[in-house]
């Protein structure tokens, strides 16, 4: 392993270069900009043999990728927030046509009000579009998940697009050490894309056709089946990655100090780093607290969560999104809803905390406050509200 230090966005661009996409189509938007600027430079300098398609919108960016992947080329895009929202229609098309791609999401809040800062509302809002969704804790993981992402996406048992989500600014603009892997290592792990079906004038097919009520339900069923099959494919690809490079991604969740935990925190993304430091402090104070980090949100690892959380007394979910209007008179985020669903029938209380929206900073003491509130049975609410401005 050879660590180098670089900005998260640059590390992503370098990882994408090693994945050898034939087509890159993207539209710049904060905080994704450094990724696509860097890739444009990489292509212009002939360090990557790809067509970089400059487009007038995110809708066109992902549409260009649909065409590229349909013709049999590996493609790449990156976006965030309102840019992802503008891709909404194309996201469903890409998954419905079973076209594999990796797209980086530098997670950012949704407007209005306008915010360039981080939360995970953007990608969470597309959870039902049929894409796989991975959430990275740090830049090393964000990089590695691109290699793994293409492997899983292009596997003929899956054939679905993948979003690699990493927190905008908090990871994208942070310099920290990463092991990038050499080109040969990536080539060995990630062979060229072999499409199962592709657009070919010599053997014409149609994609994305009209499905009458006699067929549509079955298409959606097949799409869901592919998500289910992806669970094992992610495990296999993650395990092989670990065997080759020493970083094991075979688990869809990570359990941190959960052995005898009474209170479990469940979260996704970079907030888990701060949470681990908070857990170490609470453990040294005698509190039995652990973390279950969800790395793969789609497909959702419900069975894994049941196994990891079955022994705890209470669960605090940190949600960097909010499902507005959910939960009756109490508040819910998407992760909290899904954890509750996974634990349906169990008597373990699951309390949801809507936290860190729109870039609000999270400190170790905030995590301790969440745990104290959870122990007191006080949850299913926004955390850290500044009541003086309400």
């Amino acid at each position: 392993m050879a660590l180098e230090i670089m900005e998260g966005s640059i590390a992503i661009a370098q990882a994408v270069r090693r994945c050898r996409p034939k087509v890159v189509a993207a539209y710049p938007i904060t905080p994704q900009t450094h990724i696509v600027e860097s890739l444009a430079e990489i292509v212009a300098n002939d360090e990557l043999d790809a067509d970089y398609i400059t487009v007038e919108s995110e809708f066109s960016a992902l549409s260009a990728c649909v065409g590229a992947v349909a013709s049999g080329a590996r493609a790449y895009s990156a976006t965030t927030s309102q840019g992802l929202a503008l891709m909404f229609e194309v996201c469903f098309n890409m998954a419905g046509m079973r076209l594999p791609i990796v797209m980086t999401i530098a997670n950012r809040a949704m407007g209005a009000p306008l915010s360039i800062w981080n939360d995970q509302q953007d990608s969470i809002s597309l959870r039902d579009a049929g894409w796989l969704q991975f959430y990275a804790e740090n830049n090393q993981e964000a990089v590695d998940l691109h290699y793994i992402g293409y492997r899983v996406a292009e596997d003929h048992r899956v054939l679905l697009p993948v979003m690699v989500c990493f927190d905008g600014f908090i990871l994208s603009h942070t310099y920290e050490p990463v092991d990038m892997l050499g080109q040969e290592e990536v080539d060995d792990y990630l062979p060229p894309f072999v499409p199962k079906y592709r657009l070919d004038a010599a053997a014409p097919v149609s994609m994305g056709m009209y499905a009458t009520p006699d067929y549509y339900l079955e298409f959606r069923y097949e799409n869901d089946l592919a998500q289910k099959r992806a669970i094992d494919v992610v495990r296999e690809a993650g395990q092989e990655f670990g065997e080759r490079f020493g970083r094991d991604y075979s688990a869809l969740i990570e359990s941190y100090r959960m052995e005898d935990a009474e209170t479990a925190i469940v979260a996704m993304g970079s907030i888990c780093g701060t949470t681990k430091d908070a857990i170490d402090e609470m453990r040294s104070e005698g509190k039995k607290v652990g973390l279950v980090r969800i790395r793969c949100f789609r497909p959702f690892p419900a069975e894994d969560l049941r196994a990891a959380l079955g022994h705890v007394s209470r669960i605090a979910v940190l949600d960097k999104n909010v499902s507005l209007g959910a939960g009756g008179t109490t508040a819910r985020g998407a992760v909290g809803l899904e954890v509750r669903d996974a634990l349906y029938g169990s008597s373990i209380p699951v309390l949801d905390y809507i936290i860190a929206l729109g870039g609000r900073d999270v400190r170790i003491d905030d995590i301790k406050d969440v745990v104290a509130a959870c122990e007191a049975g006080d949850g299913d609410r926004f955390f850290g509200l500044r009541t003086e401005v309400l």
């Binding site: 660590l3 230090i5 900005e7 905080p31 360039i116 800062w117 981080n118 740090n138 600014f169 908090i170 603009h173 942070t174 310099y175 920290e176 050490p177 970079s270 907030i271 780093g273 701060t274 681990k276 430091d277 870039g359 900073d361 999270v362 400190r363 170790i364």
Partner: protein, 183 residues
């Protein structure tokens, strides 16, 4: 783990300083993390950037609230921003100024001043103070060596610009070394 907070104004290169200090410390064998206080950058507006240094991989993602070290690129900021906020006893604040500091200083914090603007004007021909302050940081704290800082500057800038910046850092390093030893 040690933490550095850099105060500057938009356009003074605070984010670049954080990055290059992190690169130098990484080359010196430390785990590091450098990031800006993410805002809407405007030239002249107060900005902050942060660096963490550790012997172990760094997981913490919050901003820096209790810094061991502070760099102030522009002493006029002291009127607008509490640049010493959260500083711990034993901490070091490096301030670019030609005048003594009259502001109240937290207990146990060591203040070291340097006229980085004059150094920058005389060596670079521009009032860009971040390189001089990187040299001063190396001399005042020992968190990075002059050699790894020079390598980081050489990596970031090319040709004569790299050498000019290394010269700027050298002069500030030597001046700060003398100041720190005299104080």
């Amino acid at each position: 783990m040690q933490e550095l907070r850099i105060h500057g104004r938009g356009g003074q290169g605070s984010v670049t300083a954080a990055e290059l200090i992190a690169v130098a410390a990484f080359e010196g064998g430390k785990y590091v993390q450098a990031f800006p206080a993410f805002g809407v950058e405007r030239r002249g507006a107060p900005v902050q950037a942060f660096v963490r240094f550790s012997d172990r991989p760094i997981r913490l993602r919050s901003q820096v609230y209790t810094p061991d070290f502070v760099i102030v690129q522009d002493s006029s900021l002291i009127q607008d921003v509490d640049v010493f906020k959260g500083m711990r006893p034993g901490g070091i604040a490096i301030i670019n100024t030609e005048r003594p500091i009259e502001h109240a200083i937290p207990e146990g914090v060591r203040i070291l001043t340097i006229d980085a603007t004059t150094i920058a004007l005389e060596t670079l021909g521009l009032p860009i103070t971040n390189t001089a302050l990187m040299g001063a940081f190396a001399a005042a704290t020992g968190m990075i060596s002059f050699e790894t800082l020079s390598d980081a500057l050489r990596h970031r800038f090319t040709g004569s610009l790299a050498e000019k910046n290394i010269g700027t850092a050298r002069r500030a390093f030597d001046e700060m070394k003398a100041t720190a030893e005299a104080a």
